[in-house]
């Protein structure tokens, strides 16, 4: 995550301010924190919102955004099919309205997620057993393919053949499953 102040260095400090039970968080780098630390603590709580952060992540400061009307309308036009949240509303809120937002904003999301998660764009973790569907099998297949490649390089052809058969049977299983559903 980049520093909210300079937008240059990675943010390493998180300032949390609570005013009347309202929590505000500001991500800063060491340099800006030292420069501005005191002013942040005394500033109006509303001066830093998630909006500034998200807009900053998209390299559109709120001011620039107003100047560039075309981009604004473009963002207004992208709307979630499920909850009807527009992309600009999402930026303003810093929160999604429903699970379909991810689908509707799929094209716009990667740059945001990349900045929020140190360049990562694709989930690598747990997959739910029921809803996850064929992801488990797909992951297993790609693991086996890697193994297969290694075995072929080492000229372990007998073992490679077993792995190849495993991949084939997994792929067949997936095709059959798809056939049943359609």
């Amino acid at each position: 995550m980049l520093c909210q102040e300079c937008q240059e260095r990675p943010a390493t400090l998180l300032f949390t301010k609570v005013v009347d039970g309202k929590k505000t968080e500001v991500h800063l780098c060491q340099v800006c924190a030292q420069d501005k630390g005191d002013t942040f603590l005394s500033n109006d709580a509303s001066s830093f919102s998630f909006n500034n952060l998200l807009a900053g992540l998209l390299n559109i400061s709120p001011v620039v955004q107003q100047a560039k009307q075309p981009q604004q309308t473009e963002h207004d036009q992208v709307r979630c099919d499920g909850c009807h949240l527009t992309f600009s509303q999402f930026l303003k809120l810093g929160k999604f309205g429903c699970s379909q937002c991810y689908e509707s904003f799929r094209a716009q999301l990667p740059p945001i997620l990349k900045r929020l998660h140190s360049g990562n764009k694709v989930h690598q973790g747990k997959v739910p057993a029921r809803v996850g569907g064929t992801i488990h099998v797909k992951r297993k297949i790609s693991e086996l393919r890697l193994e297969l490649k290694g075995l072929i390089e080492q000229e372990e052809f007998e073992q490679a053949a077993t792995i190849r058969d495993q991949i084939r049977s997994l792929e067949k299983g997936m095709r059959e499953q798809r056939g049943e559903h359609s």
Partner: protein, 359 residues
């Protein structure tokens, strides 16, 4: 009510236990954020949808082995909610939302599942000391049981879909609460905090505002939830925490060697304040509690148990003080109460240590 009786009711039982590395790590928390694919997220959902979510959660909960108690936010008094917040069992956010917001709590209060917070579900597991893997395993178990009943919003590419884009992917926040007086006194924290950031982790002070940590207590947690597996996130955090533990130990050793008597003096001054003061502000209490705890860890103070810091950190917060007093307290009355509660708590150990020998 006697303090002892109040304590057994007030302090979560896991908090009175010691865990691995509890000399420096006070507690471990794992949180998983999950949502239903059928309903809008709490950002925009209707009251009807909120109620449907909580009904579906209730049904899914029947399959959870541990007995969990359901607390509806709109049925709790303000003070009760505040106490739950101070115990980290619910978030301030949940306490404010009353549209079908609820929490499911285990008897030992080491499991808390929030419903209709920022996400439909927030599964939390709390453990004493450093037990990240254990807490993750427990949270995963609960997650599996719920997933069998509840249709999670999940995407092949984005992972678990969450309300806030900062949680998407694993929906996992792993955090460790550490007591780091040695690193603070040797002015090493300013160097360590930025270094932590390079590993996708973040450190924040618990007491007080901004980066300043009055009680020398820091929470270290992962910032990145996408593109790393749960195991890797926990493993990376664990590695960094182990290094911080080693550095904190080295700093304490150095302090004992270079300024032994001064350090001992500081510890006992603070201990004296806690034992005898009649009025104490939360800032001063936090500082003295940290010093006393360091004194216990270093062996200067022998007759006070270590877990007292975990307990008093929470007990001296405004919500608890008022609950103990049985009603609203102004700031000055709170400072009075805080002082007397700390004194009583310390005296409780005196009798425990004297009477405890016949066990």
């Amino acid at each position: 009510m006697t303090l002892e009786k109040f304590l057994t009711q007030a302090v979560s039982s896991w908090m009175s236990e010691e865990g691995p590395d509890s000399e420096i790590v006070l507690s471990t928390r794992i949180r998983l954020a999950r949502n239903s694919k059928h309903y809008a997220f709490p950002t925009v959902f209707t009251e009807g949808e909120a109620k449907n979510v909580s009904a579906e959660v209730k049904k899914a909960m029947e399959h959870v082995e541990e007995p969990l108690e359901l607390l509806q936010m709109n049925e709790l008094k303000e003070l009760q909610k505040r106490v739950l917040v101070e115990k980290h069992l619910i978030s301030p956010n949940l306490a404010k939302n009353s549209t079908a917001a609820a929490v499911w709590l285990s008897e030992h209060e080491n499991i808390s599942i929030m419903v209709n917070e920022e996400d439909h579900l927030r599964i939390q597991c709390l453990y004493p000391g450093l037990q990240l893997k254990e807490a993750l395993e427990k949270a995963n178990q609960l997650d599996d049981v719920l997933e069998a009943q509840f249709d999670y919003a999940f995407d092949e590419k984005f992972g678990y879909l969450t309300t806030c884009p900062t949680n998407v992917g694993t929906g996992l926040r792993a955090s460790v609460m550490m007591h780091l007086p040695g690193l603070m006194m040797t002015h090493q924290m300013n160097r360590i905090i930025p270094a932590i950031g390079q590993f996708g982790l973040v450190a924040r002070g618990i007491y007080g505002e901004g980066s300043e940590s009055l009680g020398n207590i820091f929470q270290i947690s992962n910032q990145i939830t996408l593109g790393k597996s749960e195991e890797d996130i926990v493993e990376d955090l664990l590695r960094v925490v182990h290094q911080i533990i080693a550095q904190e130990k080295a700093a304490r050793e150095e302090l004992v060697q270079t300024s032994g008597i001064r350090l001992e003096d500081r510890v006992f001054r603070s201990y004296g304040v806690l034992r005898y003061s009649r009025v104490i502000e939360s800032k001063e209490a936090a500082k003295c509690l940290s010093d006393m705890r360091l004194g216990i860890d270093l062996g200067f103070i022998k007759d006070v148990p270590r877990t007292i810091l975990n307990q008093l950190m929470i007990l001296t917060q405004p919500g608890f003080l008022q609950q103990y007093a049985g009603g609203f307290l102004g700031p000055f009355d709170r400072d009075l109460r805080r002082a007397s509660l700390i004194r009583e708590r310390l005296e409780m150990d005196d009798s425990q240590y004297k009477g405890g020998t016949d066990l």
